[in-house]
Amino acid sequence: MSAPPLRLSYREACRQAIRDALRADARSFVLGEDVGKYGGCYGVTKGLLEEFGAERIVDAPLAENGFTGLAIGAALAGLRPLLEVMTCNFSLLALDQIMNNAATLPHMSGGQFAVPLVVRMATGGGRQLAAQHSHSLEGWYAHIPGLKVAVPATVEDARFMLAAALADPNPVLIFEHVVLYNAEGQLDPDVSAVDLEHAKLRRPGRDATLVTYGNSLPKCLAAAELLARDGIDAEVIDLRMLRPLDMPAIVESVKRTRRVVIVDEGWKSGSISAEIAARLAEDSLYELDAPIKRVCSREVPVPYAAHMEEAALPSVAGIAEAVRSIVPQRG
């Protein structure tokens, strides 16, 4: 067997991660809508039915509450379900199972039951799928104690977060941004595992910290390049996890740059960006040399029309503008 290519798409990285998991542990199986014959709504599980058979790649009926409950039961009984929910918008049908069972049973059983469940969901907008398929709800899930919320933004995290999630005794939700599936990236041959704990510095800079995750990461990196032309040196932090939140990494960066812009495709009100801003204000106020800024989605259901959708989501220009508004003009 030839070594896998080092340059690959995010979608391919997700597929390799699932294939690895299925090979590594006979207790693992994929469950979800259209994951088998259709190959997954976003094509992530294409080919796996032929490779692993119908017992391990299981098409579920359109009943999120039911099949999520089934997966939780399987996890409690010792299996390792890899649940796919078509988009996080539909996961609301399964919210009761995720919150009232998966997140609480380890606690309510005094630690006697673990729920080693992994749920993958697509999230985010940008592909003209309209208001019922385009929202970013990972911030909501980050509200819930007992869950871990992973937001891979790079092919490396798409490739290796799943194994870490399976090894974790807690239910782990993985949010894959729909725009990232076609993104390509390079794998470092020396990396074969990642943690579910630390944020990562994706671009060092001196003048301001951009705190972000998911598909806003490439936007922030592009904005940082734009700003660099004007002599503004922005640092970019990829959160990777929304729960637990790696506040020490954010604070450490803000201590250096003293300015922060939080970029989150969720809505601003009651969002993960609000949480980060609040924690900075509570614990790190005196590190800040400028007001905390946020770039979030407009507070509307994500529109269908392309130009309106674009206007509703965080943009590279908008991120750059937010940074400029808090960095003193030089000269």
Binding site: Y286, L288, A290, I326, P328
Partner: protein, 395 residues
């Protein structure tokens, strides 16, 4: 519209003259901005204006003006030059109003509620903390941040010693003869009006000096602390608990001051004496205080003191130890009510736990105003001062 008047830069000042305006009519000014250079017997002083608004009607240069004379007018934020706002219905006059013509237009009738205070100077939290560390009055700085906010780099820039404003006119230094006259007047008034009482207390300095030696080992040569800064901080901290020793006695009444602004007596080359304030000395870390002290002494001798530094002291500290004297019985600088004096630190026999040991001793003295406090209170103050100096790490 508010009047900006010739400040009394000490009780001994009667007149001054503006030798330079640092603003033009129509310039916006912020509370604490230095707006003029005023020549007094203490030399040329940078005079601050503690009003917000737009300045105008500047007094002419080089004319001797008495304390309290009008120097300029400041139109407050939100005040408009136009007539009474139309929204306020004109109340029917209750009486024939010949006086109305004399009233300034801006004394608006029937303002039921106080207008909201002008929002305070924009100072980033990081800048605020850094300013406190460096002992800088950051509110008066010009901000380079968003919305004109003062940023941490503005503060650090202002803290650099080479911040002397570029190429300003050379200042007139003080005239020693004039200053002698002024000191004579102030000290004679002090001895005439203030019933002084005097107390002295030997203070063991072993702990303070040991602590200082260790502390300085960790500092660059330029950042080393002098014993004087420990003494000033200890005085300021102790005074917080003795409001009868920190304030001013004017027109038959005493007003304690909440802030402790320590006037530091600085002898001037060529004779003369000046005691400008180290503002809020109790609240500042030693390093910041040391920098401020060095800066203050330099400016006291070279010119460039600010008016607030001359008007604000709430107490004076004089330190004659360098001249080798054992102790000093000071004369209070009116309208203050106390003066703390320090002699030199020298090893003396000292009885510690029944044994005679060599101990570095410092004689701390207090001259205080008997109209405001009694010896008992003064004695407690000196004891408290000594206690602070036994815990140098807490200063």
């Amino acid at each position: 519209m508010a009047d900006f008047t010739m400040p009394a830069l000490g009780a001994d000042m009667e007149t001054g003259k503006v030798v330079e305006w640092l603003v033009k009519a129509g310039d916006p000014i912020r509370r604490g901005d230095v707006v003029a250079v005023v020549e007094t017997h203490k030399g040329a002083i940078d005079v601050e204006c503690f009003l917000d608004g737009v300045i105008g009607d500047l007094a002419p240069l080089d004319q001797p003006l008495p304390v309290g004379a009008l120097l300029a007018r400041v139109r407050g934020p939100g005040e408009v030059d136009s007539a009474v706002p139309a929204a306020v219905p004109a109340a029917p006059p209750l009486a024939p109003a010949p006086a109305a013509a004399a009233l300034p237009r801006t004394a608006a009738p029937a303002r039921a509620v106080e207008p909201p205070p002008a929002s305070r100077a924009k100072l980033s939290p990081a800048a605020r903390r850094r300013a406190a560390e460096l002992g800088i009055q950051a509110d008066a700085l010009r901000g380079s941040g968003a919305d004109g906010a003062v940023t941490i780099s503005d503060v650090e820039h202002a803290a650099r010693p080479e911040r002397a404003t570029p190429a300003r006119k050379t200042r007139g230094g003080f005239d020693p003869a004039l200053m002698r006259q002024a000191i004579a007047a102030a000290m004679a008034r002090s001895k005439r009006e203030i019933p002084h009482y005097y107390l002295a207390e030997p203070v063991p300095m072993r702990r303070a000096l040991d602590w200082l030696r260790d502390a300085n080992l960790q500092r660059p040569v330029t950042g080393r602390l002098l014993p004087a800064v420990l003494l000033l901080k200890a005085v300021a901290l102790a005074l917080r608990e003795f409001p009868q020793l920190n304030g001013s006695f004017e027109q038959g009444a005493y007003r304690a001051s909440a802030a402790v602004h320590v006037g530091v007596a600085v002898s001037l080359r060529g004779g003369g004496l000046i005691a400008p304030a180290l503002h809020d000395a109790a609240d500042k870390p030693l390093d910041g205080l040391m920098r401020e002290l060095a800066d203050l002494v330099k400016r006291a001798r070279a010119g460039g003191l600010r008016s607030s530094e001359l008007t604000d002291p709430t107490v004076t500290v004089t330190h004659l130890g360098d001249q080798g004297v054992e102790s000093v019985q000071g004369v209070i600088y009116p309208p203050q009510v106390a003066l703390v004096g320090f002699g030199r630190i020298a090893e003396r026999p000292w009885v510690d736990a029944g044994a005679v040991v060599a101990m570095p001793l410092l004689t701390a003295t207090l001259a205080a105003d008997h109209r405001v406090s009694d010896g008992h209170r003064g004695a407690l103050f000196l004891a408290r001062l000594s206690e602070w100096l036994q815990q140098p790490e807490t200063l």
